[in-house]
Every structure is written in C-alpha cells, then in structure tokens.
Symmetry: C2
Amino acid sequence: MNELYQKYKEELSKIADIKGAAALMQWDQEVYMPENSHLVRAQQIATLTSLAHEFFSNPQLKEIIEKLINTLPADSKEIQNVKVSYRDIEKQSKLSNNFINELSKKVSASFDAWQKAYKSSDFLIFKPYLEDLVKLKQQECEIIGYQNHPYDVLLDDFDRGLTVAKTDEVFGQLKGSLQSLLAEILEVQDMKMDFLSQSFHKDFQWEIGKKICNALGFSFLNGRKDLSTHPFTVSMACSDVRITTRIDENNFMEMLWSTIHEVGHALYEQGLNHDDYGLPSGEATSLSIHESQSRLYENNIGKSRAFLYHYWPMIADKFKHVLQGIKFDDFLKTVNYVQPSLIRTNADEVTYHFHIIIRYEIEKALIDGSIKVKDLPDVWNEKYLKYLGIKPSNDREGVLQDVHWSHGSFGYFPTYTLGSLYAAQFFNTINSKTSDLDKQIEVADYNVISQWLNENIYSKGRLFDSDVLCQKACGEPLNSIYFINYIQSKYKDIYSSNTILKTSFI
Amino acid sequence: MNELYQKYKEELSKIADIKGAAALMQWDQEVYMPENSHLVRAQQIATLTSLAHEFFSNPQLKEIIEKLINTLPADSKEIQNVKVSYRDIEKQSKLSNNFINELSKKVSASFDAWQKAYKSSDFLIFKPYLEDLVKLKQQECEIIGYQNHPYDVLLDDFDRGLTVAKTDEVFGQLKGSLQSLLAEILEVQDMKMDFLSQSFHKDFQWEIGKKICNALGFSFLNGRKDLSTHPFTVSMACSDVRITTRIDENNFMEMLWSTIHEVGHALYEQGLNHDDYGLPSGEATSLSIHESQSRLYENNIGKSRAFLYHYWPMIADKFKHVLQGIKFDDFLKTVNYVQPSLIRTNADEVTYHFHIIIRYEIEKALIDGSIKVKDLPDVWNEKYLKYLGIKPSNDREGVLQDVHWSHGSFGYFPTYTLGSLYAAQFFNTINSKTSDLDKQIEVADYNVISQWLNENIYSKGRLFDSDVLCQKACGEPLNSIYFINYIQSKYKDIYSSNTILKTSFI
C-alpha cells in the first residue's frame, strides 16, 4: 500500500485509540465508577479529548492528506476517505484553540447553571449563560462561514451538508400532514387503559431485554448490556459496542423501547467495517442516520403489531399478575397510545415531532437573532399551545426540560425527527424488496432487514452524507411522505382491528 | 505558586490522566470487555502507554525540571518531587526508542511462546525467546550502567536503590533461619485436615469478602470490587482504586486471602495524597513496599489467630454444612498449614520464600552469565530439591510456572519476599506502639494500624526509597529478624494452643 496512505491510516488509528479510551471512561462513569471520582474522571476525559483534537489538528497530518488528494487514484476508497478527512480538518481548523477553550469553559459553566435552574425550575438562573452560549455559537457560525443561513453551520455539525433550506422543506411537509393525522387519531382513539404502570418484576424485565437483544442480532461477543440512569450506546471499536438500559419496576415499556432503540444504534456500530478502524469508511455517517437506525428498530419494528404479536405470549406469561385478561389488541393500542404531552422524551411516535419542530424553529431564530433568549419561556409556551394545544405550567416542564442547549448542542434536535423520516423511508424500501416482511417479523426473522441495512447503510461508513446515502439506498432523496404513510397505515390497522380480524393472527 | 513548578505539575498530571485511562482499559479487559475486542484493546493500551512515555521523555519537561532543581528551596516538598522525577527521566532517557521498541516486540513474542510452552509443558518452545530476552536485559544493564553487579539495574526498576549486595545480605540471613524453622514446624505439625476443599457457596463467599473489605477500611466510595480470573488491584486515581477477586466454590481460603491481600494494596493507593495526583509525592514508592502492604494485611493480620477468631462465628455459621464440628484451633492450624510444594502461588507463609530465593539466585546468575538459559530446567529442579526437598516432574510445574520472565520482568520476584520482611518489621513497630494490638484485631478495630500506615507509609508517597522509608518509620533499616521472630512466635502459638488455653479466648 501507498506509504503515505499507511501513515495517514496510522495517525487516524492512533486518534481512534485515544477516543476509544475516552469513550470507555465515559461509559464507566455512568455505569461502574466509584462516586468520589467524578472530578478526576472529568479531567482525564478532557485530557484525552483535547489530545485527540491536537493530533487531528497537527499540520503534518493535513500535509499528508493534501498530498494524498493529489496522488491517489480517483474513485478509489482511499481517496474517498482522505477527502472526508480533509473536509473535517478544514472545518475544525477554522476555530482557534482559544475559541474552543472559551466555548468549552462556557459549556461547563452553563451545564452547572442548567442543573441548578432545572432543579428549582427557574429559567432566570440559566438565562445569562444561555445568552453567552448563543453569542458564542453565533460567532462560530460567522467564523466557519455559510452561504444562506448561519444555522446551516450548526446543522452541518451533526448531519454534514444539512441546511435550513432542506430542513424547512422537509419539516414543512411533515408539519401539515402530521397535524391533520393527529386530529384524526385523537378522534378515533379509545380511552387509554392504564395497566402498564403496574409492577413488572425487574429481573424479568432484564431477561426479556436480553432475549430481544439477542433476537435482533446484537452480538454479546462484540458488546455488552449494563444498567445506567439514562440509556445510551457507546462504542470503543466495532468489536466493543455497549448499550445500557434503565429498569423501572413501574415502567416496563420504557425498558423495552429504550433497549430496542439502543440495539438499533449498536447494530450500526457493530456492523461498521472492522478493517477500517479510525477511518471515515469505518465510522457512522451522521446523527440523523444513526437515529434512523435506532428508530427503525424501536418504532417501525418494535412497536409494530407483528413484532409485539411474536413476544406477546412471553410477555403475557412473565407478567401474568398484571396482564391476565388483557387482550393483545388492547396491549397494542395501549403501547401505541397517542397523547399530546409536555415532555419530549415521553412522547408517542406522532406528537414527538411537534416537540422537535418547536425546538428547531426556536434554535434557528435564536441563531439568526430573530428571537432573544430572554423571551424563550414565552415563545416556548406559545408554540406548545399552538402545536399541541397544551401549555407548560413551569420552566422545568417547559423550556428547561432538555440538557442539549447547556452542552452548546444547537442543531442536534432536528436529527431526531430526520431519523424517524429516514427510518420510515428505509423501512419502506426494505418492505418493497420482500413479499412478507410482517410475517418474517412475526417469527422474529430479521434477516432481510439486517442484510439490507448492512449493504446499504453500515458498509458505507461515513463516505457519503445522509442525503446521498438515502438516494443510493432508496433511489430518491429524503421524503417525509414515507413517514406519513407509515403512521397512517399503522393507526388505520390498530383501529380497524377492533372489528376486522386479520387472517395472519388467527 | 512558582509558575514553572505549576507547568511541571500540569505535565505530570496529563501523563497521569493517560496512564489512568490505560489502567481503566486494563481493568475492563480483565473484568467486563467483550470477548472479541482483545486485539483492538491491546493496540489501544499500547498507544496510551507509548504516549505517556513520549510525554515523559519530552526534552522540554527535562529542561523545566533542571531549572527547578536549581531554583526551588532546598528541603521543600517541591524539590523532593522534582528530584525524583529527574532521576526517573535520567534512567529512562538512557534507553533509545529503538531499544524500547525491540524489547517490547520481543516481550510480546515471548509471552505468546511462553503460553504455548506452558500449555504443552515444554521448555524448549520458550527457550530461544528467553535467550533473546536475557540478552536484551543484559544489554539494558550495560546501557544503564552499574557499579557492582549488572542485576542491580533490574532490581532498581522495581525497588529504587535495591542492589544485589543488599539482597544477598538480607536473603542470606533469612535463608539460614528459615531452614531450621521449617524443619521444626514440619516436625511439630499435626496431620492436615482437608475440610477446606469442600463446597463453600459462592454468594456467601462474595458477601464475606465484601464485609471484610469494609471492615478493613477499603472505601467503596473510592473504589470497587469485581470478579476476574486472576485477582489484582488497579488504580485510576486515589479516588478510583479497584480490586478484583476470584471465587472458586471449592477454595474458600483462596478468595479470603486474595481479597485481603488486594485490600492491602488498595488501602495504600486510596491512602496516597489526593492533592498530589501525578506527582511522586502522590505515588507508591516501590513494589517491595506495595507488597509489604498487601502482605501485612493478608498474613500478619488476616492469617492471625486474633483476626480469624473474630470472623470465625460468621464463617462457621455461613458454612455450617462444611464446618460443623470443626474446632476453631483446628481451623487456625489448617489455614496455616506448612508444606513444601512446587507451585509458588500456592505456598504457605514459610516455604513461600524458598520459591523466591530460588528465582532470585537464578535471575542473578542468568544476568551475569554464570548460568545459561539452556540449563534452566536442571538448575531449577536441583534448587527445588535442595531447598524444599521435592522435584518438579515436568516443566509446567517447574521452570515454566510463572509468567514474569516472558514479560521481561527480571528483578521483580525479590520484591515479594522483601514485602513480607518489611511487613513483619512494620507490624512489629506498630505492635510496640500499643499495648494490645491482638485484642484490637480481635474486635475488628484496625485504627492503630491504619493510622500508623497512613503517617509512615501512605503519606510519604514516593519521596523516599524503601530503605529510607523503613529507617524513618522503624528507626532501623530492613532486618529479616522481625520476619523470623514473627513466624516463630506465630507457630509457637498455634501449636501450644493444643494444650494451653489463652485467656483472651475464654
């Protein structure tokens, strides 16, 4: 192999080693670290993170990459990798170390302030920090530069190439269709049954979670599952991808959905090219696509009639004391119940996206200066009233509910909804390749799904941006119609099943 | 604070962060890592280790240190730290990166060869690798330089300042006294009772281990205990010190001793100066002193009549199915049974040191060339016959039993015995400061012990070498007489108790 390319690979591999160590320290911090070690651990992680950044910013690496761009054969995988790295370095090198340090200090202070503000449900505590952060992020947009909207710069951080224009278009279509769909569903829906908040034994929850991980193809030879306060997925390498889950005795569904959600993330990481460790071709492409993987598993598969029908006998048996006498169709309706609510993370598949649209609209306007931080609580509450017909009674269940802004993460929220849209579009394509996907899911056979994802998503690494990946995989760019169709047919099925018995379930 | 000293502290703290990450990766590897990640993990650890080495070898750091040596006030803690670091850098910088890489490659190959050789009990597989390693270590001694004996260089790696002359003297005294003591004990000893190899429920073993950790002062706010194949202690920082234990249902005593042993190591690490993170004053001084801490807890405390008397009711109750009808004195005799054996790690407190003396004599002669690798199996077997009266029937239970040489660790073994000698001397000093140490131990009160260790060992960090530390703590340098006295009085007590009832136990 080209000696210079070898050198490039070695440098990226070294950086991946350091990031892998930082990832393990973060995982450990949430899962097993002794209580008194928080301060030292934060410092250790900061040292590793800044080392990785330092090595990646090394001018010698940039030189190697520039030489490679001019010498590697066009259309080779090698040049694709090198071009992605070049784009990364270009963007990163525009920000001075001073600016990065200032931002990182501000984030640290803001996170503390947010925690205090959240505890006492008082936005005013967080306000001055958020003002400073917004100013810094505005500066960042100016430093990096943009063609049409400053917020483009921040969207691009989480989903390379994503713009306000594109998001406005996609979210615009979605918003209209979803509003009328929501009204329809709320009209046809039965009363909610509340058996799900009863006590579900923790050991059984753990066991069911593990069984489902295995069935979906999560490899315990290349990963683990542990308990933590907030569920997450972390990767030290494709051969070491770990998920966590939270078990609340009175919230079985939370365990189930979050486990399947994290498995979706983990399958992506485990499915990346092992041989391309550290290279773009061995990395996930964007947060939107990552989220598409978790949501495809959690929603399109996990919350489907077919999937739940397969696991219903086991679930009903393990938790007979709670579920005795409950019919499967009522279980299906209950876990898919739609209800406008104030807290994003508790939202159902339909109303969820209004939470995101609200945040997207606010972020965009904060960054272009058309709304001010001081007006946030009011703006927030008005938008909730407008889109969901309800209004937070305090800041904690309103504008303070999410941690993202205190981390300086603007541009992150849209990837959640984009994830759902990509998931529906991917799922639709998979469905079109096989005649009986539902029946396969009903017998816990996910081969067609995982094979398609492997060929069209995992194996592509980060060589294509989300929209190009989607075009290649589905033959057209992102289109929210697939999500709307999916929701429509899902709820049509759920509420027609009251009277019409589906043959496959006899 | 002196700005230059601040810079020195920051550099050392950064190196400690990297070493902390490597330590966590090593811990995780033994405890929770998924099976398929061994190769990547080895690479990640190697990257961190070589980064730490690189930063420590940075000529700028050496310059800072040299300036500080000339400007810091004499006798300040600051200058003590800087002088220790200077000595570290001086020794390390004598070895070229090429030499270190060659050694590290050879070690990696040797370890593989040793594993194969061990499996098939065939020294010839390991022989060529060991020959190369010995040659490299001989070269290392010449490069570093020495006054009297090349092996001094290697002893100094694990116990700064230790020499062949000093070790010959101490081991010489020990050998003579121990031989006659061993003969006496073997004569007076009863037959061994074998109730200890019966089944002891794993959950109870875990619970007893945890209880004893707590009682001895191990802080679970600053540490953890997990299961692993081989017990070990690892520190990511004083606030994060982890021990592991192995539980074999048919070997309760192994769990007990190894847990107490690791607690001794861990108390040292947890007791170091938190504020001196990364500095010599915040580090343990030597392997010998580290081992003195584990052995003081395991042997001088853990295997004592007083300690076991305290825990006997709980142990006898938890394991009634095995221990019903067994008298405490028989339990005490059985767990302290002396018997020459072939495997070092299974040896009792008396015969253990012959295993070490044999290895010490062999290493010294290998390094000065007076014995050859090819003759090792014969030399080994002859020495076992001479010192312990038994002879291995194959290489696996002979010359291949320990992993150390395949790691290139020559000079390591002597620290085990030195640890026991220091432990006895420290324990004797503690005993002289209080009137009823036995009675305190009998009621699980370890305050006097931990206070003395804290004042005389933990708080001193790595500012003094082992012998100076001992002189300061005990008023005289290392003297094997304290160990001999300890063994003598211990076995006198155990075998007089058959007839004479001690008042404290009525």
